[in-house]
């Protein structure tokens, strides 16, 4: 059950408790799910809060680049599909905030962290969607990369996170197909449309590969995360899976990947690709991507503009309660 009240810090126990920790690890090793009010190491709780809230923030910020094209979608069918898709991302953010809230933080706190610039979200959403083809590329590549990450999370050791991910993956299944269909239509269209599709692939390919994070050699949180079965595969493993799945899809479209080193390696059975510019990733994460400022500005504006609405809803709820109490007393 997802309740805040049950997850007081005291219930989680002292941070250093080798006996509890050993028992906890044994449960995790035995593939038993950890539930909200179970004992858990403080570091496990913190790791989850960070990861789940970053994931939630990514869904919410991710609504912006795609939402950008809802009013300009070229047909009514595309308009409805895109709106439903971006709405889904909002829903996914909601499920994830709720999962994080089982760990003794409120959504309000998490949102504050995002708006104050203290929390991170996926670097990919700091890139602009410049043409309609970008909507196709985001669905095909960005959602495709996200699915690679998310499917193993359905088996994550923390119950509420795993359950949220199962629901998300189920809903997500139309997103990538929606994107691929857009790109496919463009790549079969006029010369201008084909150029639009190629341009989108050129701009989104490398940032999509960066979504898997730094290479395994540099990743900070991986060890613990793997030991606690929050994470099941390393960044590089997932990235390779994504490349192997995506390259044939791109070739089918008749598009070219912006990587001269991309080639199929018969010996390993995998697609080999060129070096990723991790400096660009570091810059985008540090706030220097093309749209970091705009994205945060849009989130802050929505939050600030909505404050009076949330206040009104709370004020009305209080009035209603006190009226009911008065009526009962009378």
């Amino acid at each position: 059950m997802y309740t805040q009240a049950l997850n007081t810090r005291e219930a989680i126990g002292p941070v250093e408790d080798p006996e509890h920790e050993a028992r906890f690890q044994a449960r995790v090793d035995g593939e038993e799910k950890v539930e909200p009010n179970d004992w858990m190491p403080e570091a496990y709780r913190r790791l989850l809060v960070r990861q789940i809230s970053q994931h939630a923030h990514s869904e919410i910020v991710g609504m912006l680049p795609e939402g950008n094209w809802i009013t300009r979608a070229p047909t009514l069918r595309r308009k409805a599909a895109l709106l439903a898709k971006v709405q889904d991302e909002g829903g996914h953010g909601l499920y994830l905030y709720a999962a994080a809230e089982t760990l003794d933080v409120s959504r309000e706190e998490l949102v504050e962290q995002l708006l104050a610039g203290k929390a991170k979200y996926s670097s990919i959403f700091n890139y602009p969607t410049l043409t309609w083809a970008d909507i196709g590329a985001v669905g095909w590549l960005v959602d495709g990369a996200a699915i690679m990450n998310q499917i193993p999370l359905c088996r994550c050791s923390y119950g509420p996170y795993a359950r949220a991910m199962i629901r998300i993956c189920k809903e997500e299944s139309f997103h990538q197909r929606q994107g691929y269909e857009i790109i496919l239509t463009l790549s079969r269209g006029t010369a201008e449309q084909k150029a639009m599709a190629q341009g989108a692939l050129n701009r989104w390919w490398w940032p999509s590969l960066m979504m898997f994070g730094p290479s395994d050699k540099e990743s900070q949180h991986s060890d613990k995360s793997m030991r606690w079965k929050v994470k099941r595969f390393s960044n590089d493993e997932l990235r390779q899976k994504f490349v192997d799945a995506t390259v044939p899809q791109g070739l089918y479209l008749g598009l070219t990947f912006p990587d001269p080193e991309l080639r199929f390696d018969e010996a390993s059975g995998h697609w080999a690709f060129g070096a990723i510019d991790f400096d660009e990733l570091r810059q985008v994460i540090a706030g220097n991507g093309p749209c970091n400022h705009e994205r945060m500005k849009a989130r802050r504006k929505a939050h600030d503009d909505g404050a009076w609405v949330r206040e009104a809803a709370l004020a009305y709820a209080e009035k209603r309660r006190s009226r009911r109490d008065t009526a009962r007393a009378a």
Partner: protein
């Protein structure tokens, strides 16, 4: 992420003073088909019960998942303590006579 003042319209200093009141959390239960029990599907935030019900409809039944919704304030749920798991649930493990397979009925008697 840069934290410069005023980017969202409100200067950083003011933002930290405005502590937002939490909107209550609700647990959502949905009956997917007639005859089935309501099942917990997730949570949401709403200021009151009517808004919680509408939000539950809008968030959790977008793909035809439900025929009936319950919303319950999360704070109203009383849960057992996981530390009591052994005390509460292990004693039943030895009561094998509560299960039909404990009893022997000859095959000739047929299904019972």
């Amino acid at each position: 992420m840069p934290r410069s003042a005023g980017r969202g319209g409100i200067p950083q200093e003011r933002r930290e003073l405005v502590t937002e009141r939490n909107i209550p959390l609700w647990e959502v239960f949905i009956r997917s088909r007639n005859g089935l029990a309501h099942k917990h599907v997730g949570s949401l935030h709403a200021a009151d019960s009517e808004m919680a019900l509408q939000a539950a409809r809008d968030v959790y039944t977008r793909r035809g998942e439900g025929l009936s919704i319950w919303v319950v304030p999360s704070a109203a749920i009383v849960a057992s303590d996981p530390a009591d798991k052994e005390v509460l649930f292990e004693p039943t493990a030895s009561k094998v006579y509560r299960h039909p397979t404990f009893y022997e009925v000859p095959d000739e008697v047929g299904h019972m």
